[in-house]
């Protein structure tokens, strides 16, 4: 019974990893590729490590397996965020079908500055004050 559960978990995890690889190969641009790798690969590793924990059923091994799951779940979003940010700054081209790029009006590629929307309001106020004076 347990063996079949382990086998099923491992097989489903492997299929999810294959889906992640398929996504990274087929999807059109950097951000969509990242969307495939982070979620599907994290789920695949989690399932395989769950299988490892059930198969061995000792405290030390279960702790390590859950440690790996926790580590992957904590680091995958951080790594995706950081590489997506770097990719945008380097100028990775977005897909042609991209509907909205909300970062574009706020980012100046020459000075490498990123402003929030509030700064422009403050500038407008300063302009108004200058005009009044």
């Amino acid at each position: 019974m347990t063996e079949w559960l382990v086998a099923g978990l491992v097989l489903v995890g492997a299929v999810f990893m294959c889906l992640a690889a398929l996504g990274v190969l087929r999807l059109p641009d950097l951000l969509t590729r990242m969307h495939a790798t982070t979620k599907a690969a994290t789920l695949g590793i989690s399932l395989v490590m769950l299988g490892v924990a059930i198969h061995f059923a000792e405290e030390a091994v279960v702790a390590r397996a859950f440690g790996i799951i926790l580590f992957i779940m904590m680091t995958a979003p951080v790594a995706a965020h950081i590489i997506g940010r770097a990719g945008y700054f380097v100028g990775a081209r977005l897909w042609d079908g991209t509907v909205k790029d909300e970062l574009k009006p706020h980012y100046d590629p020459l000075s490498h500055r990123l402003d929030s929307g509030l700064e422009s309001e403050r500038c407008d106020k300063v302009d108004e004050r200058d005009r009044d004076a």
């Binding site: 491992v10 030390a60 091994v61 992957i72």
Partner: protein
Amino acid sequence: MSTIFLISLAVMALALCLTFIRLFRGPSLPDRVVAMELFSSILVGIIGVVAIATDVALLLDVAIVVALMGFMATIGFARFLERGGPRDD
């Protein structure tokens, strides 16, 4: 039972091959970094399956180290890219 482990190893090997195509072809450096991160993730899964199939629990330590190295490499490449890597590769 071992047949199912063999099948999942084959599926993961196929995933490694697909990822390698993207690593080889990827138009820009960030794409390659993403493929490399997926590579290390799949490697962690393969090590887990081998640990089950051979009953060697010590292999999980190797998996932890591989996961850590993949994360560190990604962070390092991202820093390198932000501090003036190739602008339009």
